[in-house]
């Protein structure tokens, strides 16, 4: 356990010293404030919009930006250390490869969570001061879901980092993963619906809704719509089409949705360990 914590601590220090944590926190603050201003523009109220509206606007940005940051944090963590030759020294120390994977995930996960928490937190305080802290609980829930989404992509990128022999391959796969879940999967589903002429609001669309859950970003969207937006929230699960949250089938509930995110965190981590366990360094 001490070894795991030492490795996690080193990852955090490394990211503080490389100013990563500051850059990402800055991104999150600006994201929240810009979303709030956009909200105010839509409602023509001027000034910063309330937290609930801000959250729903932020959801659209967050589903694209948090995966990028999660992937960027993790894609080089093993393969990059291998290429820079720090990994051989690390493994020559009394450390198991499992401890390295867990330690790195904890450390990088902490970096990601902290920058999301602090970034959105600072923005939340600024918005709260100007419009009141009425929806604080909602905002915190949103932060928690965002962190989960980030951890999913961190875990995926760590798997790439363990599996591939080159940093560039791992980066390429991360970029592909991002585009796949951000829009390719949506385009594919949209194509399916268009070909089969299904009305997304009808009961025939169950299969489509199920397939939609393959994308962690869409699971995140559904979670926000269910818990924050309310039944009248307009969600855009895929390109060019829209659905209201009250059209969601029954299996779109917190239990199922959160389990999917947790599976997306654990499976890549396990893969990451098995790939790393027998890797020549």
């Amino acid at each position: 356990m001490e070894t795991i914590l030492s490795i996690a601590k080193k990852e955090v220090m490394d990211n503080i010293r490389s100013k990563w944590i500051i850059i990402t926190t800055g991104i999150f603050i600006s994201l929240a404030i810009i979303s709030s201003l956009i909200g105010a523009l839509i409602h023509e109220s001027g000034g910063l919009e309330d937290l609930r509206t801000t959250v729903l606007i932020m959801m659209f940005f967050v589903q694209y930006i948090i995966p990028i940051i999660g992937l960027m944090l993790g894609y080089a963590t093993i393969v990059g250390e291998k290429e820079r030759e720090t990994l051989s020294a690390l493994i020559s120390y009394p450390v198991t490869r499992l401890e390295i994977i867990i330690g790195k995930f904890l450390g990088l996960g902490l970096v990601l969570s902290t920058s999301i928490f602090i970034g959105f937190g600072i923005a939340g305080i600024i918005i709260g001061i100007s419009v009141g802290f009425v929806d604080l609980g909602i905002y915190l829930t949103f932060i928690a879901f965002s962190i989960l989404l980030g951890l999913v992509f961190l875990s995926i990128s760590m798997a790439f980092s363990s599996i591939f022999k080159k940093r560039s391959t791992s980066m390429g796969m991360s970029i592909f993963t991002w585009s796949f879940f951000s829009f390719l999967w949506g385009i594919f589903l949209f194509g399916l619906i268009a070909i089969n002429r299904i009305n997304p609001a009808s009961s025939e669309a169950g299969g489509y809704f199920l397939l939609n859950l393959f994308s962690p970003a869409q699971v995140f969207n559904a979670l926000i719509s269910l818990n924050i937006g309310g039944p009248e929230t307009l969600v855009m699960p895929s390109m060019g089409m829209s659905v209201f949250a009250n059209d969601f089938p029954d299996f779109y509930n917190n239990g199922v949705l959160l389990s999917i995110l947790f599976i997306w965190i654990f499976i890549p981590l396990i893969l990451s360990y098995f790939a790393f366990r027998c890797k020549d360094i």
């Binding site: 070894t3 010293r17 720090t86 020294a89 020559s92 120390y93 009394p94 450390v95 020549d280």
Partner: protein, 354 residues
């Protein structure tokens, strides 16, 4: 129980006493009542008979990379307290062997035991006793030297004070709080050596430790190696630089194209390969006759004349005779040079054609 006949120092009376090895016995002489203590010494160990245990054992190790055999059925033994030089041309399989010894790479063929334990099964336990300096030393560039060493110290449960002490010892005191990313190659190499000996491991594995160092750095590391060895540390050094190995090593293993072609002491290797030391005489009036005379001396292997210099390959004990015979034959010797059999000759002989 050991019995010992002792003589009283004052009255010369002989007494037989009994005791265990290592025991102190108070004796009083029955004749003159003089009192004294007798120490039964520990059983003397025959120095030659003491067999140091093997610290590193590699058995039939083979490693393939995409069909290329980097290491071919290699076996070697490193005994406790040795400085083992692992010598070979570039690409001979040195680093691959070392990586297998540390569990960095996996092979289906062969075993590696350190302190009698399999490296793959007891990796974490064994690595507490091993310090390693990789061929290409690297650190976390964003962290300072001290932060880097502190991290490794935590992994090895070494006290933090040791990090500062080592940084000072390796002449990096002024750069303790500098990011390693801003270090020069030589500084990184020194810090790499410091990292290897952090936590005082009894086994050290150094892969090309002098790589990229200036002469002062080379000397520092060489002295450090000798000092550590005097304190009982077993050291395994790989190098392609012969002088480096010859200067410090007691045992040498030579690897070529993945195969261990020899393992012995430097002396035994030169002897077995019949590589003889050389004496060179500069003679102003050198003649074919002198050469003939020298050639007939017992123990002389080969004689050559190059530029008024007579090169004689012979054992050291024949040198005086060579000089004497040349002098007797009227040769005017103006200079004499001797050259010991070198590892270089051994190396060249064993790795021919690579």
């Amino acid at each position: 129980m050991v019995s010992k006949k002792i003589v009283c120092p004052s009255c010369k009376n002989q007494v037989i006493i009994h005791g265990k090895p290592g025991e102190k016995v108070n004796v009083s002489c029955p004749k003159c009542n003089k009192e004294g203590t007798f120490y039964f010494s520990e059983e003397k160990k025959d120095v030659k008979a003491v067999k140091q245990p093997n610290v590193i054992e590699v058995d039939n190790l083979s490693k393939f990379y995409n069909g290329f055999k980097a290491v071919d059925n290699l076996s070697l033994r490193v005994k406790k307290g040795e400085i083992f030089g692992f010598l070979g041309p570039n690409g001979a399989g040195k680093t691959t062997t070392i990586k297998a010894m540390l569990g960095l790479i996996f092979s289906k063929h062969g075993n590696v035991n350190i302190n009698g334990k399999d490296i793959y099964r007891y990796g974490k336990q064994i690595k507490k006793y091993v310090g390693y300096m990789p061929e290409r030393v690297a650190f976390y560039d964003n962290l300072t030297a001290l932060q880097n060493l502190n991290f490794y110290a935590e992994l090895k449960n070494a006290p933090r004070e040791e990090c500062i002490r080592l940084i000072n010892e390796f002449g990096l005191k002024d750069h303790t709080h500098k990011k390693v990313g801003k270090y020069s190659k030589g500084m990184i190499q020194r810090l790499g050596m410091a990292r290897a000996i952090l936590g005082k491991p009894p086994i050290l594995i150094l892969d090309e430790p002098s790589h990229g160092l200036d002469p002062r750095g080379v000397k520092l590391i060489r002295e450090k190696i000798k000092e550590l060895n005097q304190n009982g540390v077993t050291i395994f050094i790989s190098s392609h630089i012969l002088s480096e190995i010859q200067a410090v090593c007691t045992q040498v293993g030579i690897i070529n194209k993945g195969v261990l072609v020899a393992q012995d002491t430097v002396n035994a290797l030169t002897k077995n390969l019949q590589i003889k030391p050389k004496i060179t005489l500069e003679i102003t009036n050198i003649t074919e006759k002198i050469k003939q005379i020298v050639h007939k001396i017992e123990g002389v292997d080969k004689t050559e004349v190059i530029n008024k210099k007579l090169e004689v390959f012979c054992l050291p004990e024949s040198r005086a005779r060579v000089i004497f015979e040349v002098y007797k034959a009227g040769g005017k010797i103006i200079n004499v040079q001797t050259e010991e059999a070198s590892l270089e000759d051994v190396f060249m002989r064993l790795t021919e054609g690579s």
